[in-house]
C-alpha cells in the first residue's frame, strides 16, 4: 500500500472523508486547525459540506442537525472548544444520534496552553455533558491509528447510535508520519429513524431528547445502558506489549504510550521484566485486556500527560489486586523516556 507523509490532523480529515463523512462543521483552535483547513480544501471536491461555524457550540449543533437526517457528520476542536461542545454532545446522546467529535487535546484548565496534554480523559470518559450517558472514546497513538480509528468511530457510532470521540493530543495532531489509507468499503448502515425526505411514504420521524414523563425518560436511559453493557462486552481494545513474563506493567495511551514504550524497551535492555498495556478504547475501558496483561505482574505504573485521570480506570479494572503507581507531566510538558525509565527502576528496586 502506498505510504503518504501526513500530519495527524490532516490524516484525521482525509480518513473522515474516505469514511463517507458528508458534513464537517468546525471552528479554528490550535493545535487542530490543520484538520479544518484540510476539510476546507477537500470537502467540496469530495461531494460534502465544509462550514466554519460562528462558534464551537454552533458547530456541534450543526453536527446534531446533519446527523439527524442520516448523514455522517463530524466536528473537531481542542480542549477549551470541546468543553463548549458538551451541551450538544449530551443532546446527541439523548437523541441517540451518531456523530464523530475530534479532540486534539492541549493543556488546561481554562484557556490553558497550546502544548500537548491528556487532561481531558475524565471529560471524555465520564462527563462529556450532563446526564446519564457514555460516548465511544478512541485513543490513537500514531498517525496510522488516527486513520483507522476515525473509520471505526464512524461505523460504530452508526451501529450503536451514539456519539464517538477521537481523543488525540497536540503531539499526534502536529506530527507527520507515514500513513496508508485502506480501501474503504463504507459500511451502509440503515437509518430508518432519520428525519429525511420521504414524500409521505412513511410516518414521520422525530429526533428528540425531551421526555417530560419521568418513567419514560428512565426507560429510555435504561435501554441505552443495556446497549452500553453490550458494547463493554464486545468492543474493548488494547495493545499488549511484552506482557507475558512482565513483573511491572506500564499503562499509557496516546502519545504518552510512545514515550512509555521507549522506556519499556530501555528497561528490558537493563534486564527488568517490564511490559506495557496500551488502551486503544478508553470507553469502554479494556478491563479484560488489562487484567490479562497483568497476570504475572507485581506492580503497575500508569503514565499520563495529566495529574492522573486514567489511573482511576486502571484501579477500578484491577480492583485492588495490584499496587498502582503514577507518573505524570501536565500543562503541556511531555514526559521523556528517561523520566519513565527512572520510575520503572524505582518500582523495580522496591519489588
Amino acid at each position: 500500500m502506498e505510504r503518504n507523509l501526513m500530519k495527524g490532523n490532516e490524516a484525521l480529515a482525509e480518513a473522515a472523508i474516505r469514511a463517507g463523512c458528508k458534513c464537517f462543521f468546525g471552528y479554528p483552535i490550535t493545535p487542530q486547525t490543520e484538520l479544518a483547513a484540510y476539510m476546507a480544501k477537500r470537502m467540496a471536491k469530495a461531494g460534502g459540506v465544509f462550514l466554519q461555524a460562528e462558534s464551537e457550540i454552533a458547530a456541534i449543533n450543526m453536527v446534531l442537525g446533519a446527523s439527524s437526517t442520516g448523514v455522517r457528520a463530524m466536528t473537531s476542536s481542542s480542549s477549551p472548544g470541546v468543553s463548549l461542545k458538551a451541551e450538544g454532545v449530551s443532546y446527541m446522546a439523548g437523541s441517540d444520534l451518531p456523530g464523530v467529535i475530534i479532540n486534539v487535546q492541549r493543556g488546561g484548565p481554562g484557556l490553558g496552553g497550546i502544548q500537548p496534554s491528556q487532561a481531558d480523559y475524565w471529560q471524555a470518559t465520564r462527563a462529556m455533558g450532563h446526564g446519564d450517558f457514555h460516548i465511544l472514546v478512541f485513543a490513537p497513538s500514531s498517525v496510522q491509528e488516527m486513520v483507522d480509528m476515525v473509520i471505526k468511530a464512524f461505523d460504530l457510532a452508526d451501529e450503536f447510535r451514539m456519539p464517538a470521540m477521537i481523543l488525540a493530543d497536540g503531539l499526534l495532531g502536529q506530527m507527520m508520519e507515514p500513513v496508508s489509507f485502506p480501501e474503504i468499503t463504507a459500511k451502509t448502515i440503515e437509518k430508518p429513524w432519520a428525519t429525511n425526505g420521504h414524500k409521505n411514504a412513511r410516518k414521520h420521524n422525530i429526533v428528540n431528547s425531551l421526555y417530560l414523563q419521568a418513567p419514560d425518560l428512565q426507560r429510555t436511559v435504561q435501554e441505552r445502558f443495556e446497549r452500553y453493557e453490550k458494547i463493554k462486552q464486545t468492543h474493548t481494545e488494547a495493545e499488549s506489549y511484552l506482557t507475558e513474563d512482565a513483573e511491572i506493567i506500564v499503562t499509557a495511551y496516546g502519545a504518552t504510550a510512545r514515550v512509555a514504550k521507549s522506556a519499556v524497551n530501555a528497561a528490558r535492555e537493563a534486564g527488568l521484566k517490564v511490559g506495557m498495556v496500551r488502551p486503544k478504547t478508553l470507553w469502554p475501558f479494556p478491563v479484560r485486556e488489562l487484567n490479562e496483561g497483568c497476570k504475572n505482574a507485581k506492580a503497575v505504573l500508569c503514565v499520563e500527560m495529566s495529574m492522573g485521570q486514567m489511573i482511576d480506570d486502571v484501579k477500578l479494572a484491577l480492583n485492588c489486586s495490584l499496587p498502582v503507581h503514577f507518573f505524570g507531566r501536565t500543562g503541556g510538558v511531555i514526559p521523556t523516556p528517561n523520566d519513565v525509565l527512572a520510575e520503572i527502576q524505582k518500582i523495580g528496586g522496591a519489588l
Binding site: 507523509l5 502536529q174 507527520m176 521507549s262
Partner: protein
Amino acid sequence: MTSEIILAGFGGQGILFAGKVLAYCGLTASKELSWLPSYGPEMRGGTANCSVCISDQPIGSPLVLEPDFLIAMNIPSYDKFIGTVKPGGKAFIDSTLIDEKTERTDIEAFYVPATQLSADNNLNGMANIILLGKLIKETGLFDMELIRKGLEKCIPPKKANLIESNIKAIETGFNY
C-alpha cells in the same frame, strides 16, 4: 539504527521545510520516520525548530531531546541546542549567522557559511538546503538519487521548477 535530528533557526529560514525534505527522503527509502514541528509561541516571530527521527524500527517518542545531528541557523537556536547533541554527534552551523565556536570536543562541529554561499551561488533563501547538503555528506544518511526522489515528493507539482535549485543547493553544501 535510529538517527535523531533537530533543525532550528528563525521562522522563515525554511527550518520546517528542510526537516520535511529529510522526512520525505526517509519515506522514499522505506524507513520508519517522524517529523514534529514546534508550534508554540516561538514560531510566531521567534525561533522555529523541528524534530526528525529516521529509523529501521518503529519510532517511540517523536520529540528529540538529544539529537545525533543538529542544524543550527541562528544564535538562540545554537545556544539552546548545542549542549544537547549526543556525544559523538555532529552539528552543522551556519557560520554566516553564528560567529561562535563550540568548546565541546566530544562532538564534531561543521561551520558552513551557508547564508553567504546561498548569496554567492544565486540560491537566495536556500541556506537551509545547503546545510542539509553538508549534513547528508557527513552522515551518509541518503544518496543523491534518493534525495532527488525525496525532493520530488516534497515539493508540490506547482513549484516543480524549484527542484533543480534545491538539488544545486544540496550539492553546494555537499561539496563545501
